[in-house]
């Protein structure tokens, strides 16, 4: 009850700045956030800052294939991180690959969040039959690991980046639905919902304008973590040859093409894209970890 009163009486703008201050109180989270910001900028600006367009086959010279880091091409272009078997500059490949990875991660986490949150809200608000049906579906989904659901979807839909996004959405929505329902069940009993019902506001309005904003904190935390998971899973699926195409490689695909050369000692084709992937995922996880601590209502009081 005390918690509840606290939340009600806290002034809105003060809460946001307090959260921000809380968030940056952790050095790890601050580093993670800045790293993530840099990565996003690099990905956004890739067409302008990368030395080469790795998707444009005209710019690739097969004669420059498998050059070690620091080599120079005939045209004077320096391959800081080496080249892959097609003569593709690894640095450019990473910058462009980050675009795919981030896009897939954000897109799938966002779509899954919308579907899952809506389902969870409906389940909690409607109760009875609707709730049973939705939650059974959630249980069914959660009893299988993500990678199995993703493999199942890819076996059905076929290979490709778009299908990976669809597979990730289908594999992840249930997590949101379960959490949102649990939160919404608690919120539903509070006075402000009762007041909104007394005012005879339409159901959708209570659902989306009153219930939803108060269930968003856990959704934000899960969504952040899911972006990292989705990026990792996309890379994994691309590595297995089920995602991105060879001509437009994502990070996973770059690592995959480097795999066969790894055994002969050409480490850089797999190594550097892997580092990029790792840094991205760790940065997102650090931010998510801190968000969970900051947004947790138990820590607010």
């Amino acid at each position: 009850m005390a918690e509840h009163d606290m939340q009600e009486t806290l002034p809105e703008p003060g809460r946001l700045s307090k959260h921000l201050a809380d968030f940056f109180a952790s050095p790890a989270a601050a580093i993670g956030f800045v790293t993530l910001l840099v990565i996003c900028c690099l990905a956004l600006l890739a067409p302008w800052i990368s030395p080469q367009n790795p998707y444009d086959l005209m710019q690739l010279d097969i004669m420059d294939g498998r050059l070690p880091p620091g080599s120079e091409s005939m045209t004077g272009l320096v391959y800081h991180l080496g080249t892959d078997s097609q003569g593709r500059d690894i640095l450019s490949g990473i910058l462009y690959g980050l675009r795919t990875s981030l896009l897939v991660g954000v897109l799938s986490a966002f779509a899954a969040a919308i579907i899952g949150t809506t389902a969870g809200l409906f389940a909690a608000y409607m109760g009875r039959r609707t709730e049973t049906v939705i939650m059974r579906l959630v249980d069914l989904q959660l009893s299988f690991p993500t990678i199995l659901m993703a493999l199942m979807m890819l076996a059905i839909l076929g290979k490709g980046v778009l299908n990976v996004v669809i597979a990730l959405i289908i594999a992840e929505w249930a997590t949101y639905a379960r959490t949102v329902r649990a939160t919404a069940l608690v919120e539903r009993e509070k006075e402000y919902i009762e007041a909104a019902r007394m005012l005879r506001l339409p159901g959708w309005r209570i659902l989306f304008r009153h219930l939803l904003p108060n269930c968003l904190a856990p959704v934000i935390v899960i969504a952040t973590m899911q972006v990292a998971r989705a990026i990792g899973l996309e890379a994994t699926l691309s590595f297995l040859g089920l995602g991105a195409s060879v001509t437009e490689p994502s990070l996973g695909m770059l690592i995959s093409t480097g795999y066969q050369y790894l055994l002969t000692g050409l480490y850089w084709i797999s190594f550097f894209p892997g580092i990029a992937l790792l840094v991205t995922i760790v940065a997102i996880n650090l931010v998510g970890d801190r968000l969970r601590d900051v947004l947790n209502p138990r820590n607010a009081s």
Binding site: S143, F144, I147, M152, A235, T236
Partner: protein, 324 residues
């Protein structure tokens, strides 16, 4: 207790039936098997013959019944690639996957439990903080990339361990196992460690969280107040109460280890089910895909059922709930 077990059993059967419908609709309706099965150069008569042969001209519900009928007999048709029954192919590779998953689970428990216990008991020590940061890394590192790096370091650079295959195997109970020969064990080490990495972090964090939840409880305080030795308090009062979440995780994660072994098996060319399914998806070998998916569904439903039953036995509160 019997009622609750029967109820869970009915739910389990329902899940299996639901998944057969999903897989059937997915593979037969969304993906068009005709395109996969028939050579694009085939003439009209040839097409009709193949369609009739696979029963694809039948109405959908009858196709589904045929599918179910095959399922009950473990008959998923012949693999397009190997020309042998799909189920046989999968069962042949099951031991390799099981061996890998069990080894990985063992590694995860051997490292995860003690480290988690330590980090939970002494949360303020620097070593505990190091362990916890390490576990974040274990969560974040993409499994397939770690696998590649393991190969790079231990096989290519140092030349200590082999990179692919199971090595020589020895027969036990009519099945061939790698861990019974020294060379096989060397082949097993890298893939098992690779697969275990993520689960070690998971078990570690879970154990730590569990310890921190149990320590402030009254019965732990009481045990200490009684003057029991610290070792006994931890071994009996703390560990015993940790077992419920840990048992659940072991059960659930064992299934997920088998599912995730697709990645590790592909990297280390481990001849298990996971490598087979990836190859089959790439080659559009439909019978093998369906057989694998149904097999995994069955595996998970059985695992979940076993966990539920264990719950009922381990935790009296669950039993009371079902009576109410």
């Amino acid at each position: 207790m019997v009622t609750s077990i029967i109820r869970r059993l009915i739910q389990a059967v329902f899940v299996v039936v639901a998944m057969t419908v999903i897989v059937f609709i997915g593979v037969n309706v969304i993906g068009n098997p005709v395109d996969i099965l028939i050579n694009p150069d085939a003439n009209q008569a040839e097409r009709a013959r193949v369609i009739a042969h696979y029963g694809l001209d039948q109405p959908l519900w009858r196709q589904y019944l045929l599918f179910l009928q095959g399922l009950l007999h473990g008959d998923f048709g012949n693999s397009f690639v190997y020309g042998r029954p799909a189920m046989g192919l999968i069962l042949e590779r099951l031991p390799a996957t099981l061996e890998l998953a069990i080894s990985a689970l063992a590694i995860a428990l051997v490292f995860g439990l003690p480290l988690g216990l330590y980090a939970g008991l002494y949360p303020n020590r620097v070593s505990s903080k190091l362990i916890m940061s390490g576990s974040i890394l274990g969560f974040s590192l993409p499994t397939f990339w770690v696998g590649l790096m393991l190969i790079m370091v231990f096989s290519v650079e140092l030349g200590w361990l082999p990179t692919n295959g199971r090595g020589p195997t020895l027969e036990l109970f009519g099945v061939r196992w790698s861990f019974l020969t020294g060379e096989g064990l060397r082949h097993l080490l890298l893939p098992a460690f690779n697969l275990a990495l993520f689960k070690t972090s998971l078990i570690l964090r879970l154990t730590r969280a569990g310890v921190q939840e149990v320590l402030p409880q009254d019965y732990v305080k009481f045990a200490r107040a009684k003057g029991l030795r610290e070792r006994r308090v931890i071994a009996v009062h703390v560990l015993k109460n940790l077992m419920i979440p840990v048992v659940t995780i072991i059960g659930l994660e064992f299934g997920s280890l088998i599912a995730f072994s697709v990645v590790t098996e592909s990297i280390f060319a481990w001849p298990g089910m996971g490598k087979l399914i990836i190859d089959s998806i790439n080659l559009l070998d439909r019978p093998v895909i369906v057989a694998y998916l149904m097999m995994m569904v069955l595996l998970f439903v059985v695992l979940n059922f076993i966990i539920d039953v264990c719950y009922t036995i381990l935790d009296p509160r669950v039993r009371l709930d079902s009576k109410a």
